[in-house]
Amino acid sequence: MHELSLAQGIIQVIGEELGKREEKGTVQKINLRIGQLSCVEPEALLFSFGFCSKKTQCENAELVIEKVPLTCKCQNCGKDFSPEEAIFVCPDCGSTRIKILSGEEFYIDSFEIE
């Protein structure tokens, strides 16, 4: 996947956020929310972040990854459910007309400075 460009994206967003705030300090921790469907490999992301963050404001920061489970809504009967397989089938009515509610995101939730 493209974990390298995602790692660069994280560093860029944190840099922008730090730039517009008065609080200064070193970034200790970055809290991420990563959807189950976003295809991001945490291991590869940690690895990429390790060398991308060298000599940036994020150097030595810890990446904390919270996985966001996949949740769906059946467009036929309105049932909310979490599919266990890659093919989404409503457990109640069997419809495959499904809308994804969560699980595709790749969020920076917050970061901590000291």
Partner: protein, 226 residues
């Protein structure tokens, strides 16, 4: 001290994709994003499509590849504007993103284009995650890849508007079950329309060309109504 950000890292791409979409809508350009695994036949399909539509429409192509301009060279012979994006200078990215397309749009004379094809990098995974500002996503799957690809790579198929099943001329030489392939694609995306074709023999190209004409007509009708 904890600072809340709540920023989607991929959002930056979506914002640029929306800008691209606005530019393309103003110019009334139908934009199609072609995705497939490497070797499914995107470029040959494009060649045949350009041959078919060139007399009636002004066509432009953005070619995405990790390296080389081999595909772009195959298309410039039709005397249409072609922009090659090579991602090896930007870390060998496995997909096109909205910003690459935005830069390519600057190099194209948009007032002279009605249909813009974006040939994405050959990859069934990553391109699906990046909106480029296109009107429709078209996925190409060739018969040699087997009937289980839609269920193995559901994200790409779920987001697609049209499935082109290519290499139909090989049907009799393979054990592939085309009905099962289509059934698998509908399992993932019940609304996915499909067209079977062979870029090599030209079979089915007319049906695909009709789909493009109709999509352009619908887009123009919509933008007149706005």
């Amino acid at each position: 001290m904890k600072i809340k950000v709540l920023k989607d890292v991929l959002k930056a791409n979506d914002t640029i994709a929306d800008e691209n979409r606005t530019i393309l809508r103003k110019k009334r350009i139908l934009t199609l994003n072609l995705m497939s695994s490497p070797g499914a036949g995107k470029t040959l399909i494009l060649e045949k499509t350009v041959e078919r539509l060139k007399k009636d429409f002004r066509i432009g192509v953005i070619e995405g590849d990790v390296s080389t301009s081999n595909d772009a060279k195959r298309l410039v012979k039709y005397d249409i504007p072609v922009i090659q994006i090579n991602t090896d200078s930007i870390g060998g990215a496995c997909h096109l993103d909205a910003n690459m397309v935005k830069e390519a749009l600057v190099s194209l004379d948009l007032s002279s284009i009605q249909i813009l094809f974006i040939e994405n990098i050959g990859n069934l995974i990553c391109p699906a995650g990046f909106d480029l500002g296109e009107d429709k996503k078209v996925i190409v799957l060739s018969l040699t890849e087997g009937e289980d690809k839609p269920v193995k790579y559901p994200i790409a198929f779920r987001k697609a508007d049209l499935l082109l099943v290519n290499k139909l001329d090989l049907l009799n030489h393979l054990d592939v079950d085309i009905e099962l392939l289509l059934k698998n694609s509908r399992k993932v995306n019940p609304d996915l329309k499909s067209i079977q074709l062979s870029a090599r023999t030209g079979e089915g190209i007319e049906e695909w060309a009709r789909w493009i004409r109709k999509s352009l007509e619908l887009k123009n009708r919509k933008s007149r109504a706005l």
